[in-house]
């Protein structure tokens, strides 16, 4: 590697304007200079996909006034040099066309590639050049013209040509969960896998990934019969269990009666209070993957200790090499997963 004057820090520290020393995600403001460093890539932006929590907050704040929402999004991007909602702390992703590739970029992209960013907008330098004139401010999907910068360690995936863009984006948005599920399934021989929230987007992908990776038995936990009625016909789970995952003993007993406890439990529902049940539903020596952003670190740590549960608890990392390809392949090959996704677009 040639380290020259214009090579960037791989995680983008050279783009942080304030506070100095913060990582780009934690920073208040980023440098949006369009000149790429040797290891950077500039993308011509076509569309932003705002994080759902961020859009809901803005929509609610402005009482559904789309023009006001648009003005605030523009203001955030101008002020911070990135789309980082200061209230929700979340961003989203973007779609665009590669415009320039630094000579030592490790991302494997070429000019003209149509890509989606798989790192958050909260750390992506972004400039909007059309005032978002084609957006009505009424949906998370934001047509946009401008540019964004990717760092050496950013992640971008080429958009597949055989899937509709909204479907591909929805799949890429949750693609870390099935990849990490596949990896952990592979650490057990013929495991029983429980997916809490199995009828959701990440949950259905995790069920498909678990079966493909060699799970002996897959169990899906859903909160209502209506979700069970959606999931059962897909055949993604060997058994669908209707149970409130916040009730630890009910979850333990339900899973045990259905062939558990689990070797691997995957938590894919964004409701608080599922830690105890997930731990109790998991066998000694088993693993719990927490993908819910509502997970409490202390509830998990103290809960397992209090239950004398020798289970490995893993923080769901959204980045696993090859995650987008795996998830897209699952959607292509499994009509059940695809059907569940298309219902939710």
């Amino acid at each position: 590697m040639v380290v020259g004057r214009m090579t960037g820090d791989p995680v983008g520290m050279h783009r942080v304007l304030e506070p100095m020393g913060a990582l780009p995600q934690a920073a208040e403001r980023l440098d949006t200079d369009p000149v790429v460093r040797d290891d950077e890539v500039r993308v011509r932006v076509r569309r932003l996909n705002l994080d759902a929590a961020s859009f809901r907050q803005l929509e609610h704040k402005h009482g559904g006034d789309g023009a006001a929402v648009r003005a605030e999004v523009l203001g955030i991007i101008r002020r911070r040099g990135k789309m980082h909602n200061p209230v929700t702390g979340s961003g989203g992703m973007l779609v665009g066309t590669v415009e320039e590739v630094g000579e030592s970029s490790p991302l494997g992209l070429a000019v003209g590639d149509v890509v989606a960013t798989l790192v958050s907008l909260t750390l992506t330098p972004l400039v909007i050049e059309d005032d978002l004139a084609d957006w009505d401010g009424l949906s998370e999907q934001v047509p946009a013209a401008g540019y964004a910068i990717l760092f050496g360690r950013s992640i971008a995936a080429k958009l597949p040509e055989d899937l509709p863009m909204p479907l591909a984006l929805a799949v890429m948005d949750v693609c870390g969960a099935p990849a990490l599920t596949e990896r952990h399934v592979g650490r057990y021989a013929d495991p029983v896998v429980v997916v809490i929230g199995g009828a959701g987007k990440s949950g259905s992908l995790c069920l498909a990934a678990a079966r493909r990776a060699g799970a002996r038995r897959t169990l899906a936990v859903v909160p209502h019969q209506a979700e069970a009625d959606l999931l059962e016909p897909t055949g993604l789970a060997d058994q669908v269990l209707v149970c409130d995952a916040r009730d630890p003993v009910a979850l333990r007993d339900t899973v045990t009666a259905a062939g558990g406890p689990a070797d691997l439990t995957v938590v894919c529902v964004d409701v608080p209070g599922c830690e105890g049940g997930a731990i109790l539903a998991t066998a000694t020596g088993g693993t719990v993957l927490f993908f819910s952003m509502a997970t409490s670190f202390t509830a998990a740590a103290l809960g397992a200790e209090g239950l004398a549960a020798d289970v490995t608890m893993v923080v769901g990392n959204g980045y696993v090499p090859g995650h987008a390809d795996l998830a897209l392949e699952l959607v292509r090959s499994d009509a059940g997963v695809r059907g569940l996704f298309e219902r939710r677009l």
Copy 2:
């Protein structure tokens, strides 16, 4: 196993009075009936060790009035049937003598054993019979007479006869960290191990455990030169690094210059904001063990994704089979660890 009328639920659900369905730790009130179920153990209490955060809160609230602190502790225990500080959410541990053992108790205890509980007081049914008359309310160490109930899945360890009780209790209080460190070191060949907070109680044990488990190189990160001066003479770390672990790039660069990145990074300091640095200091394919209760689940999850870091992040589970024996053995065999502990008693 004989399942009879009087066999308890192994995690103690039968002792929950309100709210129904909660785990004992989450419960408002526990049943303190002294009659043991088949799988329970009753312990005659000698001493409580209040959690440090809980004691500090009570001390501060009452302005150092020991009698008022004592009255409030008694009130909490009477009202809740357990020592569960409603403000801090924490409890502590207790020392006592086994008084009665249910015929199917799996804990391996015998009447007369002197034990410490390794599950929290926040889930242990407890009755005080002496009004804590021998306690001045001015320290975390509470002489007490009364009884406590252990469940089938509770954890209690016999107190060693060759170590002073305060030392043994301090070691048991943090014994989960070295045990989990040992396990994860064993998953790598000749790993580099970084312990953030290496001069502390759990940190020094983790350093000793890592070396014994086969670490090729151990690096300790401490915040000040004074801590480095304490740690260096013990020889517990191959190198001691003075660095603010909240500065991600500084930590990455410091660790890298000292032989990193780490295959295993162990976070043992209770300060917020160490997630990014721990992730950046860890090699692709490496593991971060978070033992700090100040860890933010979302900071870890989104941080790793934003850094495109393929690291496994593990929630530090305080329970690992054999954890107390391992930690006590490390203190017995390593004068450096013992010295650091004795300085902090």
